[in-house]
Structure formats: structure tokens, C-alpha cells
Symmetry: C2
Subunit: 375 residues, 2 copies
């Protein structure tokens, strides 16, 4: 297991995320062999392209030591606490050709929260850095209310909406997870050091960037896909026309997860992005915490799962049931065919098929998907 | 013509609007014969029920004199300026069983505007009386912008949003129409007397209630159907959970006309109604004047009609074309069948069929509608 962790620490540094070719290579040969092959230069072209610039960066041990110094650990997919369920959305989107969606090879984590438990029921609350006091008020209320309901609040620790959401959750004594665009050994922005310290003391501060990595513009965008993926849905509280929050919103929608936008005064530039998302039908409107829960609960993750289902399909949402019924037990069907049959958008079908596979209710093959009769 | 006007003045007083049975009776026997039959007590049961309580109210001449004293006139369907086109939506809805939608028998009008011209391109801007300064600001801007674009602003002259919309239109030097729930000889609310005076001096103050009629709670609801019908679409700027503006909104939607809602802070009780309409999908979101024009323009009335169309269907909107294509030239089809064929909601199909009939592109019969090849 130490080998695996060392290998994945190496892999996190050898390629700048998102690294789709590397991810696929690691999945097929395993992390230890993948690391060795990269060092030896014996890798497929796509992987070479992603790794060649840093293939001699041998800092895995130093990174693990640096992490330990700041109270951080490396969580790998081989760990029980790996948040595999939420991250499936990324693997799925990557399979659908979205290269930006490559899943993380591992995650540096600082804080006592077990990732699988903390992210079992989680909502991302994001928005503009230059938020208005109205936006910060709403974000604080939502963060507080979600955390009070036992739902983890995921955000990016930025000034404005992100910070307000984290603080609301902290005030409620709940769990909040900050996803950084730099190493977890440095708290960015510096003005939020105290807040990040509290998050690290009670929840989790995480990043796929090795210790010492400085924040960079492109890393914020790459980081946003993790926020969108780790939560069951995203609430955009305020967003300007070119806000980074719109990037998280777009990732959420492309991952087939529920997206909620909070309206605001039409005279406020900080609500323009939200109104655009609502007009386009990309997001649903939520003005209260109940409406947020209702919208995000659609994916099923927020609804308590029955302890002992009497039928295998108990606990599935309406769309999941329709997708299940659109599958054939004897023949594989393309996701497109299932989408048409179920009357459910393809993006959502892809997400639901992966969920059904995890529940043993569907199986995937080269030619698509078929229904399984579990239990 | 004097006989007709006298008869219709009598009819407006003999039944409390909306009077669906009376309207149908007048349509079939004409206003003069209808008035005589009512006086003689020789009418169908439905008409008797609507008129019996006031059948001896012989004030038609006095009403016309009182109107003249305050500078008002009685506009009847037989007049060229009768706004028959927008009011078709009411006749249509009444035919669909909506008794509240009975069209007015005539309209008392105070002001220089010709109704048909003023209402050719018109948008209703309505909202809460207890508006916030935010709501009044938006209503003023929209009223100003619409009037500046040559579009008539229709509203109810109430405090709050209505007044702000009228004032915006007045400031732009445009046309605005106030629809009252009392006689046009009295300006209600009294605090808006000066504003109503300016509207009567430049646009039109109108009502179906005879001179001297006091405002009453139910009359505001009945009046709201006229606001919804006279405009091509309605913008709700602010509305509380139980606002009268929601009644106008609901009428607009039921008449198959575009409904637009302006979002606001989720912390404002005055935006709750708007957010509800948006969440329910009853209204589309508009945050700018362009978005209002885009939404309301869908019905086609706001788009300039081509002077000399090369094809009969030129100038029809997308939905009107689909409805036209879903008709059969040789057989009558029920509106429901046309709706399914065109993929256009039944409510909208009913409105569009009436438009198509007026354009000579459709004909109605006992068994439904068929396509005509005009031109």
C-alpha cells in the first residue's frame, strides 16, 4: 500500500491535471506499473505527452513528508474512504469524450473528515468573489442550513460567496470541504487562512495539486470540475457574466448533476450570471433552502436510502427507474438508445447508468449497456 | 349607431361583469334586441340570472351624459377603434369554458388614444401595491423603455408597480392605458388622481364599469382579465404570495399570452410571487427590456407585420406556422388534435387558431378547425 501511495504521489506531480490519458493508463496497468513505465519512458503517446515534461520529478517521498508536516494525507482510490461514487461522474464524462473531466489520480487531504462519508450527502455552494452583501447573506444562510441538515457544504474557499458558504456551515457545526487550486500546505487566499484552518480542523481541505504548488489561473478552472463532481449538485448564489462560478455551473450541468441558481435584483451585475443560467434553462431557480434540497435531491444521493430494500429497484428515482426499464436484459443497448427509450437526457442517462451499474442493476459492455436482475 | 351605443350602455349596467351568458346573447341577437328582450323579461335562463337584479336600471342616457361631462366616451364593438384583436383571447377562452373570461360588452374610455391603435402593440406591466423601491425602479425603467420603443404600457393605476410603470411611460412621452375597477369619472386611488389625469390627457383611462361605479374587491379581479387581454403579454415586476398581480399573471397564462416575471432578491417578500411563477415555468425570466420584448414578441403582435407578404403565411411566428401545418384543408380537426399535431400547448393553439382565422388562414366549424388557402 505504501508503494501505491508513493506511486500515486509521483503520478499527481508528473502530469498537470486533468490528465485523461494518464488516468486511463493507470486504470489499466495499475499505479505502480504506470509510474515505472513513465520513468522508463515506455508509455503510449498520449501518456508521454502528458508526462514527459516532468517525468524526472522524483519528489513523491518529499511530498508525503511535506504533507505529513502540515497534517495532510494522500487519499488514493485504493483507500476505503476514496469518494468513488461522486467521482464516477468524471470517469463517465471522460468516457463521453470530455477530456477536462479526467478524474483525479489521488487527493491530498487535510482534515479529520473521511471523504466517502463527508461526500455521501454534499452540495456545492459557489459564486462570485466580488459578491454583494445580499449574495453573502444568502450563501451564509444556505451553508448554515445545509450543514444543519447534515449535508456537507463543498466550495472553493474564495472570497465572497465561497467563504460565506463555508462560514455558514462552520457556524452550524457541520462539515464543510474546501477544494483548493494549490497545494494543501498553503492556504489560499491568505485572507482566508483562519477560516481554512477551521475547515481543516473540522472537515477537509483538499487538492489534487502536490504540496508547494502555487495557485494559477488554469488551476482554478481545473479545480472547479472537482467541486462540481464531489457534490451531488451545485448552487450558484451570485455570478457575474464572466464569473468562475459559471465554469463550475457548466461543469455541473455537463456532469449531469442538478444545478440550482439563486435569483437576485436585475439591477445587480452579480446576479446576471444566475439569471442567464435560469433563462437558458440550465439551472432551476431556488429561493429557499427547501427548494435547494428539492432540486438537488433529485439525483437521489440526498434522499436516505432504504436499509433493506424489498425490491432491487427500491430507492431509485423516477429517471433511474425509466432508464432501468429502457434497458434490455438480453442485449446491449447504446446509451443514446436508452436515452430515447427512457425520455431522459443523454447526459443524465450516462450518470444514471453508472449508478445502476454500481447497484448491480446494469452492466456495461463494448456495445453499450444491459439490464441486470440483482438480488 | 346611437341606438347601439344606448343599448350597450344599458347592457354594461344591467349585468355585473363578467357576464358570459349576456355576451353570447348579445352576439347572437345584437345589442338593441338584447336590451329590449331583457327589459321585456324574455331571455334565456342564463341571461335572466345575470340581468334580472338590474333589469329596471334605466340609466343609459344618464351614463352617456355623465361620461361626456368627464370627457369620456363609450367605445362599442361596432366602432372602428374597438380593440377586437386583443379581446379575441377572451372570447376564445370563454368558448373554452372559462366563464371569468367573458369579453366586455363595451368600454368607457377617457383619453385621446384610439384603442385599436394604442393596443396594437401593448405590454401590461403589473405588480404589487406594496412594492419595494427596487420594484418601482424596474417598473419605471420598463415603462419608460417600452413607451420609448412605441409600445403602449397597460396597467391598473394602483400604487406601487402599476403607478411606476405608468409614470415611466408618461416620462418617455409614450402611450399608456390605465384599466380601472370603477367608473372612469372617478380616479382611483385618489392619490393617483394627478397621474390618472395625465394618462387621460395623453393615452386612455378605461373601464367596463358605468360612471359612478365604486371600486370593489371582486371588480379588481374582473378588471385584471382586461389588463391581461388588452396587452400582447404581461410583465410581473414584483408580487407577494397573495398579490392581485398573480391573478393578472394567471389570467395572462390562461389566455395563452406570454407571461414574464422579473426576479428579485430571495430575501424580499415582494419577489416571492415572481419566483413562484418562474419555478413553476408559468413565466419566463426577464431581467432587461430586451428580454421582455423578446418574450412578449413571441406572440407576433410586437413584430412589425410585412406590408405586402409574398406568401400568405409570411409574418407568422414559428408556433403559428406549426399550427397552420397541423390543420387539414379538407377536414375539420378539434383543437386538441391540432395541439398534439403541432406540439404546441392547447391554450396557445386556441389563441393562434383565432389569429389564423382572422388572417383568413383557418376556418372554424362545429367540429373544429380546418386550413384555408388565402390570397
Amino acid at each position: 500500500m505504501d508503494d501505491i501511495r508513493l506511486a500515486r504521489a509521483f503520478l499527481l506531480r508528473v502530469a498537470e491535471p486533468p490528465a485523461g490519458a494518464l488516468g486511463g493508463f493507470v486504470d489499466s496497468v495499475g499505479p505502480v506499473a504506470a509510474a515505472a513505465a513513465i520513468r522508463a519512458g515506455e508509455v503510449p503517446d498520449g501518456v508521454r505527452e502528458e508526462t514527459v515534461a516532468r517525468k524526472d520529478f522524483e519528489q513523491a517521498e518529499a511530498d508525503l513528508v511535506a504533507a505529513r508536516h502540515c497534517g495532510a494525507r494522500l487519499v488514493v482510490p485504493e483507500d476505503d474512504e476514496w469518494p468513488g461514487w461522486p467521482l464516477l461522474a468524471l470517469a463517465n464524462a471522460l468516457r463521453g469524450g470530455k477530456r477536462w473531466a479526467a478524474p483525479p489520480v489521488a487527493l491530498w487531504v487535510r482534515g479529520p473528515a473521511r471523504l466517502d462519508e463527508a461526500l455521501h450527502r454534499a452540495v456545492a455552494v459557489v459564486g462570485a468573489r466580488s459578491a454583494t452583501s445580499y449574495g453573502e447573506h444568502v450563501a451564509t444562510e444556505f451553508g448554515h442550513g445545509l450543514a444543519g441538515a447534515g449535508i456537507t457544504v463543498v466550495s472553493g474557499a474564495a472570497f465572497g460567496i465561497d467563504g460565506a458558504a463555508h462560514r455558514g456551515a462552520l457556524h452550524a457545526g457541520g462539515t464543510t470541504v474546501a477544494v483548493l487550486a494549490c497545494g494543501v500546505d498553503r492556504f489560499y487566499p491568505a485572507g482566508h487562512s483562519a477560516m481554512l484552518g477551521r475547515i481543516a480542523a473540522t472537515g477537509a481541505v483538499l487538492s489534487e495539486y502536490p504540496p508547494g504548488t502555487p495557485p494559477a489561473k488554469h488551476r482554478f478552472l481545473v479545480r472547479n470540475r472537482l467541486i462540481a463532481a464531489l457534490a451531488s449538485g451545485t448552487v450558484v448564489v451570485e455570478a457575474g457574466i464572466r464569473s468562475g462560478a459559471r465554469n463550475t455551473a457548466s461543469s455541473t450541468a455537463q456532469l449531469g448533476k442538478p444545478l440550482v441558481a439563486v435569483p437576485g435584483p436585475v439591477t445587480s451585475a452579480m446576479s446576471l450570471g444566475c439569471h442567464d443560467l435560469l433563462r437558458a434553462g440550465t439551472a432551476t431557480l431556488a429561493s429557499t433552502l427547501d427548494e435547494v434540497m428539492e432540486a438537488v435531491g433529485q439525483i437521489g444521493d440526498l434522499a436516505p436510502r432504504p436499509e433493506s430494500p424489498t425490491r432491487p429497484t427500491d430507492g431509485l428515482g423516477d429517471q433511474a427507474l425509466r432508464v432501468h426499464e429502457a434497458l434490455d436484459p438480453r442485449r446491449f443497448r447504446e446509451a443514446e438508445v436508452v436515452s430515447a427509450g427512457a425520455g431522459v437526457p443523454l447526459e443524465r442517462v450516462r450518470a444514471l447508468l453508472t449508478e445502476l451499474e454500481l447497484l448491480g442493476l446494469a452492466a456495461s459492455g463494448e456495445e453499450g449497456w444491459r439490464r441486470c436482475a440483482r438480488g
